[in-house]
């Protein structure tokens, strides 16, 4: 069952084209030239109930603009948009009651107060009955194991803990749709993993439809069965996430720290990204990752080794070239 649907959804911004220098600024006082920037361009998408969809794209791709239109914050310039049967920008109370949005860079928490205080306010905002409030709160607090942090001032929480609290606050009213804009931005590996596990649990146990925008491949790969890739406001890919990575993610990044100064050899078809006395960073074709790993472990004394997915920008660039 479709819960989000857009057709030819377009958002254009008009911006002042300033001419260079003081003369240009003076001319601008009397005669202005504007240019149109298309942030989202004839975008069609469909999300079904209960799906966990990833929205991928580099900076300026139009992801946040799209989320802002889906949540009703801004109005589209053209096209149709329907979220749970509502036109979002009408900002109807019944519509807002049914979704939640978490923006990684904008906090809903009161920094000087505790999360418990913020939750009390959200109980009133969403008009949640007391028993339901307690039940939901306990469910999420247990899931995240943050009971001890509920009465700590938000300003004293770490970034990862704050994001957990943001999610609890957002999910308190059992939204049907959760819009997540860069929830793991700036978080370390442990906190990111905890957030991912939590989101997966929420999606599976509560059936919440989740639309996740992220720069981190790992987030998308672990969580989203379906992905939408966009760049310059246009949709480049819409489909299965595994297929996407299989098709377009061609390489991995391997970082090796040697125990001793090692003048290591480089396997064929690998590209050196960085090389110091005891550190080597390589770009490796995805299919030979295992062989390369075996090669270094077998031939050198290794202190640490890390393998990362190819960064999102390169993948999107490749999709853009090939589609």
């Amino acid at each position: 069952m479709e819960i989000i649907q857009t057709e030819n959804l377009t958002k254009r911004y008009k911006r002042y084209k300033k001419q260079e220098g003081l003369m240009g600024s003076m001319k601008g006082l009397f005669h202005r030239e504007y240019e149109e920037k298309t942030a989202v361009d004839a975008f069609n998408m469909t999300v079904n109930k209960g799906e966990f969809v990833g929205l991928i794209g580099p900076n300026g791709a139009g992801k946040t603009t799209l989320v802002k239109m889906l949540t009703g914050i801004i109005a589209p310039t053209e096209g149709t948009i329907q979220v749970m049967g509502y036109y979002p920008n009408k900002l109807e109370k019944a519509f807002k009651q049914q979704y939640a949005v978490v923006m990684g860079q904008k906090s809903q928490l009161f920094f000087e107060l505790t999360t418990e205080d913020t939750l009390k306010l959200f109980q009133q905002i969403y008009n949640i009955p007391e028993d339901q409030y307690k039940k939901n709160k306990n469910f999420f607090v247990d899931l995240f194991q943050v009971k001890d942090l509920m009465n700590v001032q938000v300003r004293n929480l770490s970034l990862g803990e704050r994001m957990k609290m943001e999610l609890i606050v957002a999910l308190l009213h059992n939204p049907k749709i959760l819009f997540l804009d860069e929830p793991t931005i700036g978080l370390d590996a442990v906190a990111s993993r905890q957030i991912r596990t939590f989101l997966k649990d929420v999606n599976e146990s509560k059936g919440t439809t989740i639309l996740l925008t992220s720069h981190y491949m790992e987030d998308i790969k672990v969580l989203c069965k379906c992905s939408i890739v966009m760049n310059h406001g246009r949709k480049l890919y819409d489909g299965n996430t595994d297929l996407l990575f299989e098709q377009y993610q061609k390489s991995k990044k391997m970082t090796i720290y040697f125990e001793n100064n090692a003048d290591s050899g480089i396997p064929e078809s690998c590209r050196i990204l960085e090389k110091t006395k005891d550190k080597l960073v390589l770009e490796i074709p995805k299919e030979i990752t295992e062989k390369v790993l075996e090669f270094y472990i077998g031939h050198y004394s290794i202190r640490d080794i890390g393998i990362e997915e190819e960064e999102i920008g390169s993948v999107v660039e490749r999709i853009y070239r090939e589609v």
Binding site: I73, D117, T118, Q124
Partner: protein, 263 residues
């Protein structure tokens, strides 16, 4: 309606908890606002200490006028001023996004989210001045006058809010509202010192109909001393209705045109 009250109650409790986190932040405004009030009184005495009458208003009536302006300003400062003045920043930084996505009226939330108990003593001081002014007038006021006065205070507090909101809503369309705020401050400063009855001609049109700060303390004072005609009452009510309509429509239009911020 009931839900809104429950929400407001939770919001105000949260705000008070927030202020009380910092002791200096809680007690400081009491001293600052009291000092500000005293400066205003000294300024008033310097101007009106040697003036016997302004268009029939003696020292007592002028005192009621000053006390009334102070009272409305104190209500403004206590209840909604700090919320309303945060609107331009919320628009420019995109913080308004989070307000628009919640199922409570964003304007209601912004208006009451920064109540300031530090201005409560001003309410008491203002009441003292009004009582002192009334004694100096030497006339006793009827219950009807007092009730009418309180209703007029309520209306004028709404008008004050409308004016503040109207000016801040320009932030939806322009980069900065600082110059408009300067005009607002100048007009308030002027109308705090000169009663509306002293304005003539074009000045009266400006300060009664366009920037109606001239009526904010004048009409309630006239009501209390029993010289406000039915025409005056209707005029006051009409101005409040018109400006409330304008302010709310401008806000709605601004929200409709809101483009958020890319941060």
């Amino acid at each position: 309606m009931k839900n809104n009250f429950k929400f407001l109650s939770a919001l105000i409790k949260l705000r008070l908890s927030h202020i009380m986190t910092f002791r200096l932040g809680f007690f400081g405004p009491f001293f600052i606002d009291t000092s500000y009030f005293l400066v205003q009184i000294f300024a008033f005495e310097a101007i009106y200490g040697h003036v016997d009458s302004i268009r029939g208003w003696g020292h007592g009536e002028i005192l009621i006028f000053i006390g009334t302006f102070s009272l409305i300003n104190a209500l403004n400062m206590t209840i909604y001023f700090f919320g309303v003045i945060s609107i331009p920043e919320k628009i420019q930084t995109g913080e308004l996004d989070l307000y628009l996505t919640k199922p409570v009226n964003p304007l209601l939330r912004i208006t009451f989210e920064k109540v300031n108990p530090g201005s409560i003593p001003l309410l008491l001081f203002s009441a003292c001045i009004i009582i002192y002014g009334a004694k100096e007038c030497g006339t006793s006021f009827s219950g009807a006058n007092v009730i009418g006065y309180l209703l007029m205070i309520l209306l004028m507090a709404i008008l004050y809010y409308d004016m503040e909101l109207l000016i801040r809503c320009f932030a939806f369309f322009v980069f900065s509202v600082n110059n408009l705020v300067k005009i607002e401050s100048t007009a308030i400063e002027l109308c705090l010192k000169i009663p509306g009855i002293a304005f003539y001609g074009i000045y009266k049109v400006v300060f009664y109909c366009i920037l109606p700060y001239g009526i904010i303390a004048t009409l309630p004072t006239q009501m209390l001393i029993g010289v406000l005609s039915l025409k005056g009452i209707l005029f006051g009510m009409t101005i409040v209705c018109v400006f409330t309509f304008l302010a709310l429509s401008f806000w709605k239009y601004g929200v409709h045109k809101y483009e958020s911020a890319s941060c």
